[in-house]
């Protein structure tokens, strides 16, 4: 397991080819290929149920693919734990403990990923999403948008080359969207990569777009994990 303790990482490209995924007996997508170069961005589009969340979970290594493989610099991934150490995944769920303060929530992730809590970096992550004023408040008092900002601040507490973001703009106001756009731009400037599932990806400049609708088998009914999760 390679985990670098300093602020940067070796730029490597991330790609996948021939990917297919079957959920609940239905083929969500098939024959899907993508590639992201260091500093690049990929925007996943497609109607509800086209498998954007499924693809992101597959890229993270949570959901196994039915066919195809993911690769770093064209070397297929064989160690899921090493792969996981190279990515940060922002899901619909914010993974926040209501009993902890904003700082404690972020401090936990920092100690988990970096083995120690570095107060200066922690304060920077809190400030990047305008949470400084709330830093000492318990997370249970936060609004939906503030909780989401706290979840996004997790991206900044420990560096990782690949960011997977599932609808990161939800519940964010205009200034927070700008904070997110700035964080993404800074990440890409360092050679980081971003893959975003979004209907309106205003926070990614000049990224490539992957339309998942193209890879949906035409006979299938539109249903997926995404719609199932939305009900919970």
């Amino acid at each position: 397991m390679v985990r670098r303790m300093d602020g940067d990482f070796t730029p490597r490209s991330f790609s996948g080819s021939g990917l297919a995924c079957r959920r609940g007996g239905r083929l969500v997508f098939t024959g899907l290929a993508f590639g992201v170069a260091p500093g690049g961005a990929l925007v996943l589009r497609g109607p509800n149920g086209s498998g954007k969340t499924t693809l992101l979970r597959l890229m993270a290594g949570l959901t196994p693919s039915t066919a195809g493989a993911l690769a770093w610099d064209n070397v297929p991934i064989d160690d899921p734990e090493a792969h996981a150490a190279h990515l940060r995944f922002i899901t619909h769920l914010d993974a926040i403990k209501p009993a902890f303060t904003v700082t404690e929530n972020l401090g936990f992730w920092m100690s988990l990923w970096r083995g120690r809590v570095d107060d200066a970096n922690l304060a920077r992550a809190v400030a990047a999403f305008d949470l400084t004023r709330l830093a000492a408040f318990p997370a249970r008092l936060l609004s939906a948008g503030q909780r989401h900002r706290l979840a996004l601040a997790r991206l900044l507490v420990a560096p990782a080359p690949l960011w997977l973001l599932d609808e990161p703009g939800n519940a964010l106001d205009a200034p927070s969207r700008e904070s997110l756009a700035r964080a993404i731009a800074a990440h890409r400037a360092q050679g980081g990569m971003v893959i975003v599932a979004s209907h309106e990806a205003t926070f990614v400049d000049g990224g490539e777009t992957l339309d998942l609708g193209v890879f949906t088998p035409k006979t299938a009914v539109h249903w997926s994990e995404e719609s199932e999760e939305a009900q919970i």
């Binding site: 993270a60 949570l62 734990e81 090493a82 996981a84 769920l93 993974a95 009993a99 100690s111 990923w113």
Partner: protein, 221 residues
């Protein structure tokens, strides 16, 4: 190791903030045990005879109450996804969670047990083997329970299913836990049952984290 210590520290801190959760388990243990003298009557020799078994059964049921929450909260708020992606081996993550569970429920039960043994008229020479048996048996209870707790993630009425899955697996621990208390009362050597309990703990420690990790991977799929 940073993942183990970070997660253990977080879970202990959470348990301290929400200490009502641990208190409920200990309170259940106390109330359920105290019901027996009321139900059976105050005859000291009858109570002394069943004390070991009663304490073990109520301790198992109390532990079961808390197992329900072992992974559920992390599963529901998305933390589990992030823990699977922590970059550390998942059995290590499981071991941290189980250690925290044992420290916040197993240990309070062990500390509470002599007080409750008093209400059951446990003979004086029974206290040491009873606490030793609990000390050796409760880690197995947490480890085996974690497998069940991970398997029922995402199911409705997981708590009931969990007890059906896990309670039968606790029978060996119950038999030898009770035996170590009874042995000393009847004047037999107690080392045998205690050694077997230690053996169970080692077996559970080597197998359960991996089984739990496999079940958690299924849950986050």
């Amino acid at each position: 190791m940073s993942v183990f210590s970070a997660l253990l520290a977080r879970d202990l801190k959470l348990a301290l903030r929400q200490s009502a959760d641990s208190m409920t388990v200990v309170a259940f243990f106390a109330i359920a045990t105290v019901l027996f003298p009321f139900g059976i009557g105050p005859e000291a020799n009858v109570l002394a005879r069943i004390a070991g078994g009663v304490l073990w059964v109520t301790a198992l049921l109390a532990a079961l109450l808390s197992l329900d929450r072992l992974f559920t909260v992390d599963y529901e708020d998305g933390t589990l996804d992030q823990l699977v992606l922590s970059g550390a081996p998942l059995p290590m993550v499981v071991l941290a969670k189980v250690t925290a569970h044992w420290l916040t429920t197993g240990v309070p039960l062990i500390i509470m047990s002599p007080v409750l043994a008093l209400t059951l008229h446990l003979p004086a020479q029974g206290y040491a083997p009873m606490m030793l048996a609990l000390l050796l048996g409760t880690p197995t209870v947490s480890l085996v329970g974690a497998v069940g707790a991970a398997l029922v993630l995402g199911t409705r009425r997981g708590g009931v299913l969990l007890s059906l899955l896990v309670l039968p697996l606790y029978i060996p621990v119950l038999i030898f836990g009770t035996a170590s208390v009874e042995a000393v009362i009847t004047g037999v050597e107690t080392n045998g049952p205690l050694l077997i309990l230690a053996g169970f703990a080692v077996l559970a420690l080597t197998l359960c984290p991996w089984a739990t990790a496999a079940a958690l991977r299924q849950a986050v799929e």
